[in-house]
Amino acid sequence: MSELVPRPNRRKLGLRIARAFLLTAASGIFWLIIWFLASMLLANFPNYQMLFTVLAWGLLFFTFAIALAEGTIYKYLLIIIRAFFLIVYLAYATNNGILTINFENFALTVEFLPLLALMIVINLLDIARGLLQAIEFAAQSPKD
């Protein structure tokens, strides 16, 4: 009997990894579409390519890690960390909501502080939700 115990766990882990890969792949396709659409408007912004790549890879990592941590309290911890990452990175990448593109003799500055503030609020709400979910999870499964 003792030899049979690890088998379901391994299969469970394998399924979890496969699910995480599928979710990450789906997210990757989504970010690729967003990248194509956003490139049409934002291609001229300085460092756009690099900033978008870091954001997309960061979020793909979190998608994979959160899917892998499904059923554990670490999932909620990762959700909270992801929200913090988004707050800091969005503020940094958008230069605190003020972006400037330089054309030949023109400079176009777009200021979207209210939108950035809204994104920060959303992520703060996400942190609050993650905390509540973690508390609820801990209350339901004392083993964790």
């Binding site: 408007l41 200021e111 939108l115 809204l118 609020v121 959303i122 709400l125 939700r129 509540l132």
Partner: protein, 256 residues
């Protein structure tokens, strides 16, 4: 707690949808505004009165976009070799969505004040740096600032101001001389020119006023005769010319 978590989830999803739709719709709104003849600028009008220069640009905007346009302003900064000569700011009214607005963008500046600080602009042509910026906010959320800079040529109203052929008639006590200059400015000169003559001791020997009416781009040349006080007259001295209370010229004269 489960209900709170679910409610938070819905709020987060809703806010993300708003956050993503807003910038896209703002761009679409601006694209709708830019197409066709929704914006137009009519011929600018220059006027000069009481030493104040006014530039009026009539324009119309038909806001066919989805959102109101607010905080519309135009800022122009004119400088010469990093010295700011004038800063002009005009705030325009808000343009509600679906409405057409006719506005006039008027810039006014006292030429006397400018010339007080930069007298060389009266007599020397110059290259001026112009920084122009248009600012507006769409949907009260996303602000745009379009800035450009270019160099423009300033035409001096008294370019190449020269005084020559100075002669003194000892019998009539009349000092005669010729004045010439080119009005390179974009505005006509129709304010008087004050002429003051001083002897070698610095005492005023004569003062007179010359009415000017020189259109833009025209040359001026005239022989002037002024009566002088013979008791103060010397063989040399200096002449000063004033325009709008500003000294624009000073040169020594010597009788041959």
């Amino acid at each position: 707690m489960r209900f709170t978590i679910r409610a938070l989830g819905w709020i987060i999803a809703l806010l993300w949808i708003i956050t993503l739709i807003l910038p896209v719709s703002v761009v679409l709104s601006l694209m709708k505004l830019a197409e066709g003849k929704n914006m137009g600028i009519q011929e600018p009008i220059f006027s000069l009165s009481n030493g104040n220069l006014s530039l009026t640009i009539p324009l119309y905007i038909n806001n066919t976009g989805f959102y109101d346009i607010s905080e519309v302003n135009v800022k122009i900064k004119i400088s010469r070799a990093n010295d700011v000569i004038a800063t002009l700011l005009e705030n325009l009214p808000d343009i509600p969505a679906g409405l057409m607005v006719n506005v006039s963008c008027t810039f006014s500046e006292s030429l006397n004040e400018i010339f007080q600080r930069y007298r060389a602009l009266l007599t020397e042509d110059a290259n001026l740096d112009v920084d122009a910026a248009l600012h507006f906010r769409v949907a009260y959320a996303v602000a745009f600032n379009i800035a450009t800079n270019f160099t423009t040529k300033w035409g001096a109203p008294f370019q190449n101001l020269t005084i020559y052929d100075i002669a003194y008639n000892i019998t009539t006590h009349v000092l005669s001389f010729s004045i010439s200059f080119n009005n390179h400015a974009f505005f006509p000169i129709n304010e008087p020119l004050t002429i003051e003559l001083y002897n070698s001791d610095g005492k005023k020997v004569s003062s007179s006023s010359l009415s000017l009416n020189v259109p833009s781009g025209e040359s001026f040349q005239e022989k002037i005769e002024v009566n002088v006080d013979p008791s103060k007259m010397t063989r040399s001295g200096f002449i000063r010319l004033f325009f709008s209370g500003l000294k624009i010229f000073e040169e020594e004269w010597t009788l041959s």
